[in-house]
């Protein structure tokens, strides 16, 4: 039990750091998306010069925003579910059902990990984006178009983080099943960001 609790606390600590970084990158991505779309409107109407990269850049950021912050929502119970049955069951049965559901969710995520890794490193990811460039010419290098794999990696990273959170949920359920009184770590940021 002590080893299990230690493993759980260790994973919680790792997730605390990773998800905190994810949330901060995600909010900056959302703010940047807003600025890019406003820039697009101003350029089109004021200067009659619509940029060709803005929509794709904003989509790029939206995908990364989702991949990086959705695991926090999952950790804080933000994923929509009907939990009436689980709440009606006795504690032990509810925990066993919750474990089965978590294992099912983990299966979905592991299959997703395998597929998204193949997509990022395979044929689909070998193409370049339509209008996004890395302007290395500004620093004396050679510019190149952003590979699609950089965009698709948002799903891969998102799934990896979701798997970490899912394993944390599994460990929490197992610990509570064995010892309902076991002291469990609390995510202090829950209240600050409010994922209710």
């Amino acid at each position: 039990m002590a080893a299990l609790l230690g493993l759980f606390k260790g994973l919680c600590a790792v997730n605390n750091v990773l998800l905190l970084i994810g949330r901060h990158v995600a909010w900056v991505a959302l703010a940047t998306m807003t600025v890019i779309i406003l820039y697009q409107i101003i350029m089109r109407y004021v200067f009659d010069l619509a940029p060709n990269w803005s929509e794709e850049a904003a989509r790029f950021l939206m995908l990364w925003m989702t991949g990086l912050i959705a695991p926090s929502a999952y950790r804080w119970g933000g994923f929509v579910a009907i939990d009436t049955v689980v709440r009606l069951l006795p504690r032990a049965l509810a925990a066993i059902l919750a474990l089965i559901l978590l294992v099912l969710a983990l299966t979905v995520l592991v299959v997703g990990l395998r597929i998204s890794f193949a997509e990022v490193t395979g044929f689909s990811g070998s193409f370049a984006t339509a209008a996004l460039w890395v302007p290395l010419d500004l620093v004396g290098g050679e510019s190149f178009r952003v590979p699609r794999s950089w965009m698709m990696a948002s799903m891969l990273v998102g799934i990896v983080l979701l798997i970490l959170v899912n394993v944390e949920h599994i460990l929490r359920t197992v610990v509570q099943l064995i010892d309902p009184e076991a002291p469990l770590p609390v995510d202090k940021h829950l209240m600050a960001a409010g994922a209710e």
């Binding site: 959302l30 703010a31 779309i37 697009q40 926090s72 579910a81 009907i82 689980v86 979905v108 997509e119």
Partner: protein
Amino acid sequence: MLVWFLPLFLLFLMIGLPVFFGLLAAPGLLIWWEAISNGNDRYMRDITLLYRNLYNGMDSFPLMAIPFFMLAGEMMNRGGITMRLVEFSQAMIGHLKGGLAQVNIFSSMLFAGLSGSAVADTSALGSMLIPAMEKQGYTRKFAAAITAASSVIGPIIPPSGIMIIYAYVMGESVAALFLAGIVPGILVGVGLMMMVSYQARVQDFPPATKRATWAESGQASLKAFFPLMTPVIILGGILGGVMTPTEASAVAAAYALVVSLVILKSMQIKDLPNVFIRSALAASVVLLLVGAAMSFKTVVSLSRAPETLAVFILGLSDDPLMLLFLINLLLFVVGMFLDAGPAIIILGPILGPIFLDLGVHPVHFAIIMSVNLTVGLATPPMGLVLFVASSVSGERVETIARAILPFLAVEVLVIFLITYVPAISMTVPRLLGFVQ
């Protein structure tokens, strides 16, 4: 075999699997099982398609309106703008029978033009109006019930998150849906006001405040001017062809930022990261759901489930009016257990094609679904806004659920009016040329 994905999905849902995982697990498991049964080892190709559609479903410019509208709503909510809307409503209609209850409903109608979220409405208006109503002599359960009931106007009057989702999943015009939601939203508000007025006559409601003077009304209007301009900017931009809905949503977010930060000074720069994080959190869940819905939609069409369901539904009756009645019942029951967004994502691709074949206009059907499922947010046992109203007021959910019944009756009546009088939703988009 694949036709079983729907019952399997419902089973997963009922036992508590999050909708996002259920949308992928049910078809994925059946694809795998069918392949194994037939000795076909190429099932990974189909499952890869499922995940590819999840990614492609999220990689969408129109869908970007969702995080932007959520951001605008969050800023309006945080920026003390709610108080200005309530003061404006108080000055306009505070003297009517049922004073503060009427103000509550009217504020929800105004708030709907800013946020499009029933939860944000209940939380923002409830925390301000429920204590004020109690102080004036209303019971707490009544105050919480009218707050929850009126908050469902939020996603009906544009801008509306669920209408953006419906438009994207079903390939409809966002502008047409926004326009079609205006009159039904006002109708729900007016219906609730009439019910409050009736209750004020037959029950012993606290007296209304005296009518505001012209000077007081003018001052309240001036203070609410900037927030009230938000829907004008959004709808004006979209309908005038100046901006796409996504661009309009980004402008709304920037406008809300300027109003809260610079003009009203009701928010500080240090509040911004939290506001952005909350918006991104909520948006990410919706975006994942929409992505999964696009995978689900592919399987829905491959499985021929709509055709099977259509045969069943058409077997019940060949009268479209009766079928619409039955479908409203179904949607109402679904709305009791599931939030409006996920319900639209799941049921839209299944029910939409059946009713289009029966001659129901797609925009009309979208409004029937949206309004019905939105009202479901305030119905027990799983109505989300009931829980929010309970947490804001401190009143028990069961007590609020009983007190809300007269208002739900009004909303059900409005649902049937919208269903059987298509002109209620179709006239405005038709007049403005957004619907043929």
